[in-house]
Each structure stands twice: as C-alpha cells, then as structure tokens.
Amino acid sequence: MGIVAYGRTLPELFSHAALGLMAITIDPADIRPQMEMAVSVQGANREELLLHWLNELLYLLEVEEFLGKEFIVEELSDTHLRAVIRGEKRDPERHHFRREVKAVTYHRLQVRARKTGWEAQVIVDL
C-alpha cells in the first residue's frame, strides 16, 4: 500500500504525506487537534528526510500513543525538518484503527518537482 502526496510547496508536501500515512491507519476525522507535539528529524537527502518524518509518526503512534491530525512544517531543508503536530492521545473508546503500518519503505520512494508544485510517492509495509 502506498501514498501519493502533492503539495504546492515542499512543507505542504511533507504535511500532506503525513496526513496520508495517518489515514492508512485511522480515519483522521476521528482525531481531535487538542495537544501539540514538536518533532525534529534529519535525513541524508530529501527522500530520506521524508522517510524519517513518516517513521517518526509511527514511533509517536506506538510509543506515545499520539495520533496526529494537523502537521505544521515550520522549517524544512533537504536534510532537516522541524514541525509541530496537533492531535491527541489515543482513546480506545473513540479511536478504531483501520490497519497497522509496520514501516515506511525505500521501495520506489520518490520526491519530485512538478509544474505546479511537488509530488511524493511512498510505499508502506503492512
């Protein structure tokens, strides 16, 4: 299963890819943006940075039980990303998961410029 994300700008692209990942796991409509998490990730290049960013969301989900809904990318270079995520802690009563994402893969991983902005492709292992 995978995500094809688009963005007018690179920060928007990274933000949309994150939303795509969450939507594979759970219906984003069920998440309330009531707390914030600050995240900072590094990568060797733009694609690896995207991979680490999405993997960070899996980590937050599994370890902190934090579900993200709004992803505000505040700083972005080819190798560094700083973002604030708005969301909430998992509430088993309200949150029903669709499926589990094991990992974000390098498989056909791509970030490329398009006429009107940016496009990314990410495949996840379920």
Partner: protein
C-alpha cells in the same frame, strides 16, 4: 518487460544469469504452470533477478511457489551469501524479523470442543492483546527487555510462562546466540517494550484447528499428531521492535554501500559485507529481534493454554498442550551447507521462506531426528494450513528451505472491492469457522480469496521434493488483529 525463463522440469524454472547485468548466479523459481501465471503478473521475477546481484551470493537466487512482490527481495525468496565474501541485507530478511509460526498440539479431539468454539474464540480474543496500538499484558523494565533480547523464549519460560520442554521443540531452541542488544537503537527498544506479548494485525493470527488429513503416518506420529486432534497455530513476529531494527539498518546499509563500493538495482536491497562493522552490528540486532519474536510467541502460548483450561474447565493433564514446533520465516542464519562436495558456511536469508531440515541433521531436535523437523505452513483463515517435513533434497537444492504460506494474490484494495456487500464473518461461520478480529479492514483484506491456493503451493514443494506433506489442518476458530 517480461523476464526470460527456461522451464527445467514441471516444478522448476530458471532465470538465466545473462538476463541482467550484475547477476552473479541464475534465479531458480519453484512453481507449476498455473502458479507461474500469477507470478509472472506481479513483477516479483525482476526481484528474483535483483537478488542474484548480491555480492558473494552462492548457487542461485531462489524463490518458493508462494513468491510475491515484496520490498527489495520478493517474499518467498531465499538467498545464501558466502561468509567471507558475501553481504548481509536487512531488506533480504524483511521488516518483521522472525515473523514465524508455532504449532501447539493438545490431547483434545474435535468433538471435545464442538459447541464450545464461541467461548474459546472469545476467550482467546480477550486474553491475547491484538490489533494496532494494543499493549502487552507483561510490563517489561528496560533490564527485563535486555534479558529477553539475549535469551528469547528461554527467558520467558524462566519467568513461568510455558514449560521448559517447549524449548526443545523450536528452531534454535527459541534463542539465537550472539544477540547484541547494544546494536539496537533506543527507538526499537521503546517500540518493543510495550508490544511484547501482542499478536499485531494484518495476516497475524491465533487459530484453533483440527487435523483433517494425515499424509505421512510415521512423521505425524513422531510429531505427536493424529487425525481429528485439536491443534493451535500462532502466527506473529517481532512487532514494532523488529520493524524498527530493519528501518534503522536500511539507513545504515544505504550509507555503507558507498563505503564498500556496492551497487545494486534497488535501494531496498541495501547491504554491507558480513565481515564488516555494519554487517556484524546488523546480525547482532537481527538476532535480538529474532529472540524478541520467540519470546512473544512464548507468552502467547501460555495465554492460549490458560484460555483452554479455563474455558473448557479441564486440567493441564487433560489438555496436555505441547509445542510441536516453532519456525522462523523471516530471518538470516549462519549455516553450514555442502556445495560441490565442499562444506561452506553461508548466511541464508529466508524472507518468507521456512527452514526444512531433514532427518539426521544436527539442528533437528532429538525427538524428530529420525524424520526431520516439522515445517509449519499457515494458509488463509478459511482454508487449510499444513505440516510438512524437511527433506535431503532441500539441503541439496534450497539450503534446506521451503515455502512459508499461501502468499497474497489480491491486493488489499482488490480484496476490499471483492468483499463489497458480503459478510466475511457469516461466510466463514457457514463453513464452521468462528472469527473475531479487531481491525475494521483486516477481515476483508485478509479474506480467503485474497490468497493463493495453499494446496497448490504445498503440492509444488511436495512434488518438487523440497519438503513432504505430513498433515492438513482445518481452522475452526480464528482471532486476528
């Protein structure tokens, strides 16, 4: 582009070494014509050819009949690399390190659980944490986790879960030596701790079954199996721990590739020499993840037994639950194999493939030494699973390996489309199978027709002679994440 293939016999196909620049050995695929039709459609043959480009690969890039498209190597792939000149590849092992299968036998017959299956399945569903984000019932301190990573199922038995004799009937006795918890990132440790003792989701399951058919009386008897007997199959792996170890080392290996001047057609195949700091660290971390998975299946075994005792109100003696065997089907192991009359140590990557060692092999437990160790092949939740046994031909041809399951044939999306307007629960119940699952989408994505015909897969490995059919198991109760 279609990959050129030469059919060697009814069950063996070869991708010639000349197909692709960089291939060091040919590709060999085990399949019959019908399975090959499906295999040709999903591009996994290209991945078999890519596997043949690994530095130090010996003999061939092998693929089992349940092969399907994976990340890097196909699922169902077997690659062995020379210990001195070869590489080790996290992508050649898979994300779910030591994803594997355990089979328990009982002293119950099918009649003994008739009319009790709803209770049993409900009990299993309640007592065994499953699904996304589920937390284990065990609370591990960081110190506990370290012991568990070093000792695997052994540590869990020491804590009072299961029986010491369980350990005698597992691949590696439920513990790979030389695990290195210090090679594991803090992220993997953190992801792992709360997930120990959980089933997970997707294709993982606990299944109550009965033995529907016995093909080989002598082996079945050695394995303690008989017609109509109730068995329980557990399919799960190393959870977020293993996934994180694989993720971390893909990054490490991608950086190491330039350092060691290794060029491969797919980044997901990233690797490093076995004899390098990166290679050694990966092996240490991978072994820790393998031990995490054996520990996980051990905890679950204990809870399964508890549920049976409580729900059927019988004594442990009456239940007589025992581990038949436990196999890893995503792993890399250092093994000795004979090639051209010479014994060589190789790193056997089994990614969606099962070890199948024959009678007489020193790694086969004493109790099974006369027949070979059991090979456990889970099918989809509506069909059958199989017990096979290893053969000498597997040693000669496939580094003692065989298939691992049915293998997907429908994408999750296609499965969903096919399930529209149907109740998979009801369809299964009509066939005498009680299902409980957590994930809203798991049930349709995992429905029986999403998988290849398990009988066809098993027939190929049986006919090709790389393992032999012993018994066929029929599900009567399933829990899924």
């Amino acid at each position: 582009m279609s990959v050129p293939m030469k059919q060697l016999d009814p069950y063996r196909w070869e991708i010639p070494k000349s197909y692709k620049a960089g291939m060091r050995v040919p590709g060999i695929i085990y399949a019959d014509e019908r399975l090959m039709e499906a295999i040709r459609e999903d591009n996994c043959l290209e991945q078999v050819a890519n596997g043949a480009t690994f530095p130090g690969i010996v003999k061939a890039s092998l693929a089992m009949p349940d092969i399907h498209y994976g990340y890097g190597l196909p699922i169902g792939g077997v690659v062995a690399t020379d210990l001195r000149e070869g590489i080790v590849s996290p992508g050649g092992t898979g994300y779910d390190i030591n994803c594997g299968v355990r089979l328990l036998r009982t002293n119950l017959q099918r009649e003994d659980v008739q009319g009790r299956m709803k209770d049993l399945v409900e009990g299993l569903y309640r007592e065994i944490p499953s699904g996304v984000g589920s937390k284990g019932r065990v609370r591990l301190s960081p110190g506990d986790e370290r012991h568990l990573l070093l000792e695997g199922a052994r540590w869990v038995v020491k804590q009072g879960y299961g029986h010491p004799e369980d350990l005698e009937h597992m691949e590696e006795g439920g513990c790979l030596e030389a695990a290195d918890p210090d090679a594991v990132s803090s992220k993997a440790l953190e992801r792992g701790r709360p997930q120990q003792g959980t089933l997970g989701s997707g294709n993982h399951f606990v299944e109550v079954q009965y033995i529907q058919e016995v093909f080989d009386e002598q082996c079945a008897e050695a394995f303690g199996l008989r017609l109509g007997q109730v068995t329980i199959m557990i399919h799960t792996g190393s959870r977020g721990f293993g996934h994180q170890v694989c993720t971390d080392f893909l990054v490490t290996m991608n950086q190491a590739m330039a350092k060691y001047d290794i060029h491969l057609p797919d980044r997901q195949l990233a690797c490093a020499p076995l004899d390098s700091p990166e290679g050694r660290l990966y092996l240490g971390a991978m072994r820790a993840a393998a031990n995490f998975a054996w520990a996980n299946r051990q905890f679950i075994t204990h809870w399964v037994e508890e549920v049976f005792l409580k729900s059927l109100r019988i004594s442990p003696r009456e239940l007589a639950a025992a581990v038949v065997y436990d196999v890893a089907h995503n792993i890399v192991k250092i093994e000795e194999h004979e090639m051209e009359g010479e014994k060589r140590k190789v790193a056997v990557h089994r990614k969606g493939a099962t070890r199948a060692f024959p009678a007489g092999h020193p790694d086969v437990p004493q109790a099974y030494r006369a027949v070979g160790h059991p090979v456990l092949i889970p099918g989809d939740m509506g069909t059958n699973s199989y017990v096979l046994v290893g053969t000498p031909l597997a040693m000669a041809e496939t580094f003692g390996s065989t298939c691992h399951g049915a293998g997907r044939v429908l994408s999750r999306h296609a499965a969903k489309r096919a399930a529209r307007g149907r109740s998979i629960y009801r369809e299964l119940e009509d066939q005498g199978i009680i299902l409980r699952a957590t994930g809203r989408d798991t049930v349709v994505e995992e429905m029986p027709e999403a998988y290849k015909d398990i009988h066809a897969v098993v027939d190929v490995v049986h006919q090709a002679g790389i393992s032999r059919k012993v018994a066929k198991l029929r599900p009567i109760g399933v829990i899924k994440g």
